[in-house]
Amino acid sequence: MMRVTKLFTLLLILLMVCSSLLRANDETTGKNSEAPEKFNVGKLIFEHIKDGYEWHIFKVGQTHVSIQLPVLVYSTHSGFHAFMSGNFHHGEEMYDNFKIAKEGKYEGKVVEILADGSELKPWDFSITKNVTSLLLSIVFILWVFLSIAKRYSENYARAPKGIQSFIEPVILFIRDDIARPSLGAKNYERFLPFLLTIFFFIFINNLLGLVPFFPGGANLTGNISVTLVLALFTFTITTINGTSDYWMHIINAPGIPWWLKLPFPLMPIVELLGVFTKPFVLTIRLFANITAGHIVALAFYCLIFIFAEFSSVASVGVSVISVAFTIFMSILELLVAFIQAYVFTLLSAIYFSMALEKHEKHAELH
């Protein structure tokens, strides 16, 4: 009963926030009112992949319906500004000396136009589409896992029920197939919260990115900043927990001929580069997999509209194939969502175990 009330209040708050932010904007008059714009595949795909200052929900005829998000910028020139991104009118107009740059180095971002016409990029703390999606997914994850934890604390050692029976096998899978084999029975409990968090965060955000309507559809794990931060978490934990044996193996790896270490420390440099390439590879793997999957799925979907340029009959014919391919790509993307979360967690566990390694006997090596 408590859970239903919480869900209801959450939905109510969401509805109130949305209805205050939701605004139907007419297409800007004047520029494109005569001829419909030619369909631009690249523009549509990149709009769905990239971050933005508003969340586009759908378009009815000529009116866009989108959620306006707050723009919070701090300019070194004119101080702190906070306003809703609806003031930009989809990037067409300027507001208070700020506008979304159309081209140049800061394309797509909020810049300030100074008195002499030059652009100055302010410190941008806006709640963009990705930040909103992050907050929504955090609320969702917290709701799911706090209710599971509450059930454990209330009804310990009872048969699982409801969402607990759905999530518990996955948690046990991570504990028994990722954490315990990699880290050993002694150490795995220390790192299990982080591994669980990172697995479910990546998995749920990947899945939310595949949902085409609100609150999904924001390409959060395809944002390289987000994946970079996740990889930096792994890197920090690895570095903090590195034993002296771990660092000795980097600086002075055993079993390697001496002339690779002196006079020019070739092997230590290679090993040190290896320390930094590991989080970099984690970043690129997750970002590229998710973004490439979205691009391919969107490209298949856009085939319909490309053929519509030629004739409407061709587009109807293509739509059968295109929908079939899009469904196939989406199923593949479901698999990729799980695999990428699994690989990220597995590699984090392996890096932790490498950092914790201790050699009992050195006699045979030295």
Partner: protein, 85 residues
């Protein structure tokens, strides 16, 4: 005559860069295809030899495939940077 040659070279630079990106992406796809194909082949062969460990072999195969795909994606990201940045 030389100005024409210079202008043609500048015009060709952008096109050659994009062609280079296309060829790079194709080579990345070939590399990923060969690597993952070999993994798949050995995995299936191992399952044929010992069907009772097919679950473990499948997990290892998927992990190795994900690692190889990461390398292929490096090349794709570089090609994207060539075209769009």
């Amino acid at each position: 005559m030389t100005t024409l040659a210079i202008i043609l070279q500048v015009a060709a630079n952008m096109a050659i860069a994009k062609m280079g990106a296309g060829i790079g992406a194709g080579l990345a796809a070939i590399g990923a295809g060969i690597g993952i194909g070999r993994i798949g082949g050995s995995a299936v062969e191992a399952i044929a030899r010992q069907p009772e460990v097919s679950g473990e072999i499948r997990s290892n195969m998927i992990v190795a495939a994900a690692l190889i795909e990461a390398v292929a994606f490096f090349a794709i990201v570089i090609c994207f940077l060539i075209i769009f940045v």
